[in-house]
Symmetry: C2
Subunit: 307 residues, 2 copies
């Protein structure tokens, strides 16, 4: 699966992923009002607004980008209606040729991790037929439970040709509380040890120069990104934290390999809610998706100029 | 919310929780076949079987126990149909007076963690009305992202009178890979530091002797449970790993305080699939729920004899 992502990245010359993390406050009033009018002032109406908002942004950007990263929490908060909108979004992205990284941050042990992997990357078998639950191409996974939590995901990835990105060093201010703790056994921070394990977990899944077990490392920590890039030579890095969280194009260089591959950078709010920023205000609420297209173009330019 | 759980525990004299983690292989053939016949040999039929299986077990045990812990992964693998069964299960448990600990192991940062908290413990507001997504009473949460990941859950708990259980030391064999790493800063394992943080995160949520921020500590590590019990005097401990994973009643004593409170022990397979075990085989497939009732009674006896 990682090679399909790399092919898409090369084709678009855009190592970026658009985070489809719709909050109600991002969605223009006219979209909300249309949906509330047609479907009701309730979770059905809200979920329909989320879906239409996504669809417009996908339609305006799909030819520029290799992949999207919907954040399932933003859908899950609307219950079943929200998850139906999530699934519609995943399916529509596939129709448009986009890869989908499900930002689900799941993680458990044994048969439970296997069930999460089945839900997002595999399929249940009923009466000899296979039924995929959400059917993303990649999923993000939390490593706190160790190998017992990751191995079932890797097994499902192998069976269904899918991939995962494991949280290593997250982009948020408090990520250091546990992740930066120096371990007595190694004299190095925990995130480096997690990085080593990610590289090891990926070994059986090599495709070309990279494995199907990637890592999440925040743009907000470029020095640590540099070290992790070296520790995990065959690991693709998903980089959140660009834009709204403070990371800039110049910060991203250490996450990439010399060939310009090895990393893919996410922006969510900066692209999907671009029309709310002063620099894209000229597009207006009506043309919010055009603002997203321009923001995607600007982000690609900002990042590729350094590679 | 923790006081409601304690009231339920005292009323039943049963510090246990039944893990509603249905796998298709647990469900008796006759239940499956009925549902496939009525709803189709597909995820709709499978999800209906999961729901009927749960309902029978709830009906047979609700007067004995204070709470259930549905494992959402087991539902999520059936996609939307599975999550509808999850929601029906949560609602039915509430109808029967049971508390519901959603074993969702969610965890992210900032507005994303807030969205997960809203999905499971809170409600979205649309047009001045509140809509709860899944509406459990407690949710399990992963601490790897630090305070930024936990604080939004605590805020929602405060607003809606709910609670969380944070993973501290999990029950699985590989939980030590990261959790047991000794930190240079403290000379103690990571899980102890996470435990200290859990106690601290809970401070603003005190209700009587306990907070609404609990901890997950596996029955398979009683020595560590003893230390954590001391480090987290106001923290309720949810203890998985009893029964099928190897923990016994005698192992559980260190997790409790002297008053017999402070811990609640989960069993999933050992109760919901009891009819498959030799000691309960006499009930047969037809009376699988009666086997679950007997297994719950036996578990309560096994644990309370030591308290």
């Amino acid at each position: 699966m990682i090679q399909k992502l790399i092919t898409n990245i090369k084709k678009t010359n855009a190592p970026i992923v658009v985070g489809l993390d719709p909050m109600l406050s991002y969605i223009p009033k006219w979209v909300l009002n249309n949906c509330y009018g047609e479907f009701g002032l309730n979770t059905k109406g809200a979920a329909e607004a989320v879906w239409r908002y996504n669809k417009a942004i996908i339609d305006a950007t799909y030819d520029l980008i290799p992949a999207v990263k919907p954040q399932i929490a933003m859908y899950e908060q609307f219950g079943i209606d929200g998850l139906i909108a999530y699934k519609k979004t995943v399916d529509y992205c596939h129709e448009k040729g986009l890869m989908v990284i499900g930002d689900v941050k799941r993680g458990d042990i044994g048969s439970t991790s296997a069930a999460y992997a089945t839900a997002h990357l595999g399929a249940v078998e009923i009466g000899g037929e296979k039924y995929a639950g959400f059917d993303e191409d990649f999923a993000t996974v939390n490593p706190y439970l160790g190998t017992d939590g990751i191995k079932p995901f890797v097994d499902v990835c192998q069976e269904f040709d899918k991939g995962i990105f494991v949280l290593v060093k997250t982009s948020n201010p408090s990520s250091g509380e546990f992740q930066d703790q120096v371990l007595s056994s190694t004299g190095k921070p925990l995130y480096e040890y997690v990085g080593q394990m990610v590289e090891k977990w990926g070994e059986p899944t090599m495709e070309g120069d990279y494995t199907n077990v990637g890592a999440v490392v925040g743009a907000t920590y470029p020095e640590m990104g540099k070290v992790l890039r070296e520790i995990m030579p065959h690991t693709y890095i998903l980089v959140p934290g660009y834009g709204a969280q403070g990371g800039t194009g110049a910060d991203l260089v250490p996450f990439f390999n010399k060939d310009g591959l090895g990393a893919i950078v996410n922006s969510s709010r900066g692209i999907i809610a671009a029309y709310k920023k002063e620099e894209y205000a000229k597009f207006g609420e009506k043309n919010f998706a055009d603002a997203s297209r321009q923001a995607a173009l600007d982000m690609i330019q900002d990042i590729t100029q350094y590679l």
